[in-house]
């Protein structure tokens, strides 16, 4: 072995956690999983926020009530991704290309990221109506992935 040959040592670090979801996430995901409904939090100024949270970051007031939003939504932003992505939590590769973007549920002031069922970016636009495609009840785990993706509603 030549002295000048470089040396690299591989090391896999696996991190395992058990995150407590807290009462807002617990209520949201239990409702999502069992009833297929989306619950956001409204603050006294009228901001409707997803993910639901105890304080509104726009006005620094405590949120005061649950309010149902969606299920229909519109695109707040979009892209189509062409580079491979391996989910470090599952080890699975996501097939490329895939649509991805910001989803704004009807009645909600914020957006959430999610997958879009479209691979031609020229068909997508800000404000395009989309609807959630749900996983079968039996496959739901109580996470945002219980929605498989959002399907554009083209007219």
């Amino acid at each position: 072995m030549s002295e000048d040959e470089f040396l690299r040592l591989p090391q896999q670090v696996t991190l395992e956690y058990r995150f407590a979801a807290g009462k807002y996430a617990s209520h949201f995901f239990t409702t999502l999983k069992n009833e297929g409904r989306l619950l956001a939090r409204r603050c006294p100024s009228g901001h409707v926020l997803l993910p639901p949270r105890p304080v509104c970051g726009l006005c620094n007031l405590e949120t005061s009530e649950w309010v149902e939003v969606g299920p229909n939504a519109s695109l707040g932003g979009f892209t189509v991704v062409y580079i491979p992505f391996t989910d470090p939590m599952t080890g699975e590769g996501r097939p490329v290309p895939y649509g991805f973007g910001l989803i704004r549920f009807d009645g909600c002031d914020t957006n959430v990221y999610h997958l879009i069922d479209e691979t031609d970016p020229l068909k997508l636009r800000i404000g395009l109506p989309v609807e959630p495609v749900w996983r079968d009840q039996a496959d739901r785990t109580g996470s945002f992935a219980d929605i498989r993706h959002f399907k554009p509603i083209y007219t």
Binding site: F6, R8, Q11, V13, L15, Y17, F19, A21, G22, A25, L50, P51, R53, G57, L58, G76, G77, F78, T79, V80, V81, Y82, I83, F85, T86, D87, P88, M89, Y98, F100, G101, L102, I103, R104, T110, N111, V112, Y113, H114, L115, P121, L124, R125, I126, S143, F144, A145
Partner: protein, 386 residues
Amino acid sequence: MARAVAAVATGQTDYAIRKDVGIPELIREAIDRCLDSRDLTLKDVDAFILGNMEMFEGINMVEHWLADAIGIGGKPLWKLNNGGTVGSSTAAAAYYLASAGFHNRILCVGFEKQSEGSPQSSITTVADPIWERSIMAGAIGNFAAMTSVYVNESGVTPEQAAKVAVKARRNACKNPHAQLKMPDITVEQVLESKMLAYPVRMLDFCPSSDGACAVLFSTEDDAKSLSPNPAWVHAAVTAHDQQYMGDSPKRLAEMRSLIEARKRGYAYAGIEDPIRDIDVAEIYEPATYAELAMYECLAFCEKGGGGRHIDSGIPEMDGALPVNPSGGVLSANAVGATALARVAEAAMQVMGEAGEHQIPNVKTALATGYGGNAWTDLLVLRAEKP
């Protein structure tokens, strides 16, 4: 009474994939270049501030592991950890500590050895574990989705974005440290480069580098004894934004933290007309579209005018307000070092030490850091003592 603080020396490694050195040797290269430039040794440093993005190397509390490499020797050290902003945050922190009288000579060090990890996997840990991790698309996917909003609002074109890429990689040819030097790059080449996530193409985006940067700060008369032309800090502000990634889709189009930091920073430094009052800017642009949006957020042009601004030639090296004569982040990106490199490059411009990419007669330089969920640092450096 607050003391005046200045950057007095800088050092950077060449940004590249470095198989020949481990992290300790890498950061010592930058530290040595910084201190050697003023004939100083580690004994002359009073305190240290270290920054990197720990998940990229997977070494928790990396400051302990690097104690000997940095040469702390029992002296004070602060470790900062806020994503891409960390480098400029070390500079802001040095300013606050020195200005308040706690230390004189503070060495800021930022580094990243991105070739050693999987940045996309590590970036997944940035996402909220409950709400966001199950649906992630890596930094580029998230960024591209934000870009669609900016494009929709401003009407900037891929050609205008490509011009930013061309400016950056041509400027990089005059920076010995830059990774991507492309003297013959054209707009057409950028538009034909591989699409990563619509509309962001390969040449629209920053590289992933190994590198380190060190900047020495000091105060009042000590600064003047160390550097013939210290780069005095006239403003060092930080600003952060909302919690979840989807909270503000206009995160690029109206980067709240950058606008907020700009207003405060310009007020502290007495900047009213940026084109007139700033001689050079080193900004943290992760991609071409980001630079266009940042022109607007920094009030270099009107809202929506980012595309027209690059068309105008004002941000070119011979323009009225050159942006990133070093080649910027688009030409070299070792995340923990990158924002500090913006401060270093701004300081070099004020000190007259930027070599081939020196802009003539720099009295006022601007440096920004960007990172995480659109956080911002902003510093103003001047030849004149405050």
